[in-house]
Chain length 307, copies 2
């Protein structure tokens, strides 16, 4: 099944307790596309970059079945740039630099060839742009998954709620779920967020795993306990890419299949954090992914017969 | 199989965002015994109380197959009393009062009839007392599980390490695992703690579930997402009681069976937090426990076939 993703393609500079990078390629759509590319083709990206971007990075995506024709290249302008420093526990970080550059005037134009994509993954951008993307499509995708963050809850809540009402799956972290719903209990938060529109809610808890809520059903997938988390940047987007990539590959959006998709997304995220940026995501094999999924199965599956 | 548990039997006064209690019955051994009583008999408690204790509470335990003859009753003295107040998120609390009373001079004497118990659960007390208990036994139990806390790491680390070296399973929370090992990564913490003696390590993460480490194997059980956590007091002890109770019932201390025991312990803890103190634990049925275990299975089990 075809997958359309809209989001940032950008530069990051990252500092962690284990080292630091110069400008490396990042951005939500980049991580989503790399991760999903192990599951489905074609993947269509819509984004914007400046002429400072490394075009070999786009070619590497093309070689993975990712169509980058929808990435607008602005001559004489610079790509979006984010720089951050992680604290010792890797759960919190300080943003050092946010240079919006081309992103400040991003107005996604969906190419005709993308307008009937089967699956849509909206990376974290201004919710008015997420709405614009959905409205440009000629066919309602089988599944729309949307990521967002607390920033938009703080400055554009009404627009954000309008966007949320249009999607099938919302992915946010636990603090964002609490903020959006005004509920401390994640169970109650999920109930309220379901009423805002999305039939499915994924609550990402970082090293504490992820929850999938659907009506009164709930599924939990742990994060893999790792000896070393090298760089958490992009883990949430990589998770989302694996999640929707697996759903697009299997063309099955049942709750049971979403459980599997959560495991695959978690497996992809566990790779992402092992190296800086997208480095680890670039050299994976189906065998390595299956092996990692098997580790998740061993981690969480148990054979219980009630007596 | 018979189970011996040594730990506090005490009074608590608890304040949460949902209400507050007068002095109610608490203490690690109380929660352990109530929880384990749904799985195995006899359960032998060794503890100490004052003459202010409510003897009907002991009778209620006796009716569940719990032998309380090993609870020393000190005339003219008061029972251990702890009072605490939980913050809004229920993950942190302030201790308001700690009156050691009889606990200050507790020196557990194991009755002859208890000295060949099959399983031993050491509740969180001074590690020198935990060592004394093990040394008094005439037969090495099939499994010794020990709980402790950061307090003993701060003031009695050498003795604590001596105790830890004598047990099979150590149960601590994630921050305590980091403190004890000096490692941020829980995987590395587990490797270091294995070298201190325990072949099994349970890391309790409260609302984020529990991890079981054994050599290079790891198992994770989530906590049940609840609409309301009413009172977390005793949840860790209730978990431990369900864990060792299930192991004693099944008389199987394999890693695979410990996975099941972790699920049963988590199920018991999920009941505990629904009401103040031991209230919820007093009225359970096998059917209710099985139903709760089924909820854990639905929460975490997934059917994946790798292609």
């Amino acid at each position: 099944m075809s997958l359309l993703t809209v989001g940032t393609v950008a530069f990051d500079a990252i500092e962690t307790p284990f080292g630091k990078t110069d400008k490396i390629v990042g951005g939500a759509a980049t991580y989503i596309a790399w991760s999903a590319s192990y599951f489905t083709q074609p993947i269509n990206i819509v984004s914007v970059i400046g002429d400072d971007f490394d075009m070999d990075e786009l070619k590497a995506l093309n070689a993975r079945g990712v169509n980058t024709d929808g990435i607008e290249i602005r001559q004489g302008e610079k790509s979006f740039f984010w720089s951050g420093k992680y604290h010792m526990d890797m759960n919190s970080r300080d943003t050092l630099i946010t240079d919006l550059n081309v992103l400040a005037s991003f107005n996604p134009q969906i190419p005709e060839a993308y307008k009937n994509s089967d699956f849509l993954m909206l990376g974290n951008i201004d919710p008015s742009l997420q709405i614009s993307v959905i409205k440009q499509l000629t066919k309602r995708p089988k599944l729309i998954v949307m990521d967002t963050m607390n920033f938009w809850m703080n400055i554009a809540l009404d627009t954000l709620r309008e966007a949320i009402a249009m999607v099938d799956v919302l992915t946010i972290n636990d603090e964002e779920a609490r903020q959006l719903s005004g509920e401390l209990s994640l169970v109650r938060a999920a109930q309220k967020i379901h009423k805002m529109g999305p039939k499915f809610l994924v609550i990402k808890k970082g090293e504490h795993g992820a929850l999938l809520f659907h009506n009164n059903q709930v599924f939990f997938a742990p994060a893999l306990p790792l000896e070393e988390v090298f760089d958490p940047t992009g883990a949430g987007d990589t998770f989302a890419g694996g999640f929707i990539g697996y759903l697009a590959k299997t063309n099955d959006i049942s709750f049971d299949n979403m459980k599997r998709a959560i495991i695959y997304g978690s497996a992809m995220a566990s790779f992402c954090v092992e190296k800086f940026g997208t480095e680890k995501l670039k050299g994976l094999s189906t065998e390595a992914i299956d092996e990692r999924v098997n580790m998740f199965i061993e981690l969480s599956q148990v054979d219980i017969e009630l007596v």
